[in-house]
Symmetry: C2
Subunit: 438 residues, 2 copies
């Protein structure tokens, strides 16, 4: 016997058994169908981008995987500057720039592909993972309608996954930026980074950090905290609360107007489904208006935001001399799935997609069994034909092991009817292809 | 304005516009649904494998892409031995070995993922491409049923792609191997490689090569050519033709028996859909019995086999001390798609998946338009809501540009009915959510 190399799992690169993969596939199918039902078109981009494209905005803190050919011809440099994508936003920006003249704007696209980051792997932080992104890009101006539509799409997408209730938190960075300008606080990045931690370190923690790290006065911290602790889904309440801060800033007012538009648009959403939460600022520097985070209300093990995003004024300027504002949001599918799987929330599907196992009664009934299976497939059923005329008991055991819900018995004797057994209830009775309804 | 890095397409890594990607997606959906209708379950494996796994059978002629971290911590070696998969068969063997105890055998799996090879790119030979594989693996013995089922599945999968008629050519390597043993021809690899070229270099070419390169006698070449030129879908005809060669070989007879079983099983297939063609030997060394190739009969630009495979006696022995025979077949999806696209056979889909564009008549009708769109989505329609209350003409032009087939007009005046316009026929009339049937 030849030498055996026993492979072990590669840390950070998840791989599932068929019964788990099937659930992941159902998730993706559902998310995709919701995205399409709002008119988002699909694109796929190559797994690789040029390193120059990935680095166009300067160094990134993402751990990038570069490619090299094991058996490369040293003279062939055609793929020596390639690396795996670490998100789908950079590829979208590059794609939009490159195909600019052939796209119709506003360009509504979704993308469900894997991305790769060489981070230290742990549950919920893999090196290879699926992301499900929707983004809308426009030329020069992007209507606020799209900021408002994002939460509706995401809510529908996530609620179909049977993971309990979710809440989308919405804010608008302009409000905080306007306030910081008015208060003459210059260190915007540090300040917003600290406010972003409100949920984790609490009011006292934020107060301490703002004072010690940024040197903000007590009075200004009060104002910042008054703003950051506002939570409401009612545009009128939001307006009143913000008016009380007496901020005279165009940027501030613009942000308020925009956020009110979004809240009004989303007023049809169920109680608790969304809320304006002014502590949401998102770390990423390129968001310029609306920002989103999403929490799972019924999964205590998943504490971070499962789906985040926002508006950026100018996405593709690294690759094209056009102003392309966009708004987008991304479901971290694998992160969510792996945490839920690890904590027992994922109920495995059957090991086979088949609805029916077709029994093979004897070698001379093979053509009949095959033909019957074919007829059932033509009616839309998934049918696995058993592979050998073994004992019925053995064939039934196979159906059971693969959790195939129905077993079909072609007759041993042509005078007899076909029979169907429901493996869950144990019921069995005569059946015909024409009369079957599962 | 910041510096613009103008990206160019990366040779060998295809990327499509939304209207083309949609066709590719429809293809994949169809293929997947056929695979599942025969009870194949889906798996996905990581994009990467350990290099030791890819090389377990020794050096490969595939051009492998290895990974390295751009910003790697030199102490962290956890992902320094990773490379992108170059097919889906090696990952399947590794997967089956690794999860052996959790799988139910016969293990019927399909896999539709991209693979990567650093080959010199040209149309129909990309560096990143989709493969659609089905394989069945069993422990120790694999029933012949699965050899027979493969062509039925593949025929249904390919015929649904609207690419004209196809023909699956089937042979069994044991027949030729048995004959070569009987004729005492030792150089099996060179001989089969030459016979495999029969289609390309013709009988005279094969005759010349067999004589000059392998030193086979005239008489034996006659026998080999008699065998290799047999083409029939009728098991009885095949038996007669092979009997005429007077070969006394157990291996030969086994191959004949097996091929007859497959032909008998597939006798329900339409005229021309499949044929036993004894010139088919497949280059790969690991096939041991049934082998398949598939030709497109109506696409002269696609000359090679679009879908090939066969049976292997022992797939996973590099990774596990078990005998796991298998049979599998693979559709080279991207190769097929790119050649068809290049030659104008692919009709682009609409630029949007939406069935209906919902017009936004005025700002104060936004809630009504939104609500109506939501009701239509609940009925299963894909509805894009126009983003701003612009001139109706502009909204219609948008529907036209995105090829959205229907436009819905909520009333400006509540007393009026909603209206629906068929963009193809120009018909327009009153409609309600309840009465809509597209």
């Amino acid at each position: 016997m030849s030498k055996v190399y026993k492979p072990s799992p590669i840390s950070g690169f998840p791989e599932y058994l068929p019964e788990i993969r099937r659930v992941e596939q159902q998730w993706i199918d559902h998310i995709r169908s919701v995205f399409e039902s709002y008119g988002f078109c699909n694109i796929e981009t190559p797994a690789v981008e040029e390193i120059e494209v990935l680095m166009a905005k300067g160094e990134t803190d993402k751990e990038i995987y570069a490619l090299s050919r094991l058996q490369a011809d040293p003279k062939d440099k055609s793929d020596s500057r390639l690396a795996l994508r670490f998100d789908q936003t950079v590829p979208l920006a590059r794609y939009t720039a490159q195909h600019f003249n052939e796209l119709v704007f506003p360009f509504k696209r979704y993308q469900i592909q894997k991305v790769w980051r060489g981070e230290r792997p742990q549950i919920g932080r893999e090196r290879e993972f699926y992301q499900c992104d929707i983004d809308v890009l426009a030329v020069d101006n992007l209507p606020l309608h799209f900021d408002a539509e994002m939460p509706a799409v995401i809510y529908e997408a996530l609620m179909g996954l049977d993971i309990g209730n979710i809440q989308i938190k919405i804010s608008n960075r302009k409000i905080l930026i306007g306030l910081l300008q008015t208060l003459e606080i210059k260190d915007v990045i540090s300040t917003t980074r600290i406010i972003d931690k409100l949920d984790k370190i609490g009011e006292d923690g934020v107060r301490k950090s703002l004072s010690e790290e940024v040197g903000i006065s007590e009075q200004n911290i009060d104002t910042l905290l008054k703003l950051s602790t506002i939570k409401t889904r009612d545009a009128a309440v939001l307006k009143t609360a913000l008016s009380a801060l007496n901020v005279e800033s165009e940027v501030f007012n613009e942000g308020l107007e925009e956020l009110c538009f979004v809240l009004d648009y989303l007023s049809f959403m169920p109680d608790g489904a969304m809320i304006a939460d002014l502590s949401i600022v998102r770390g990423l520097d390129y968001y310029t208006g609306t920002v989103y985070e999403t929490n799972l209300l019924d999964i205590p093990e998943f504490t971070s935001s499962v789906c985040s995003g926002g508006r950026y004024d100018d996405l593709a300027s690294s690759y094209i001399n056009k102003k392309l504002p966009g708004v987008g949001i991304s479901i971290g599918l694998t992160r969510l799935f792996s945490v839920l799987l690890e904590n027992g929330y994922i109920k495995p599907a059957a090991k086979s997609p088949a609805d029916i196992l077709m029994v093979l009664p004897s070698e001379d009934k093979r053509a009949l069994a095959q033909q019957t299976a074919q007829q059932l497939r033509a009616k839309g059923y998934k049918v696995e034909l058993y592979h050998a005329p073994q004992k019925i008991k053995k064939q039934m055991a196979y159906a059971e092991k693969k959790a195939i819900p129905f077993v079909w018995f072609p007759p041993f004797d042509d005078a007899q009817p076909h029979e169907l057994k429901n493996m869950e209830t144990g019921e069995q009775g005569a059946i015909s292809v024409e009369s079957l309804k599962l």
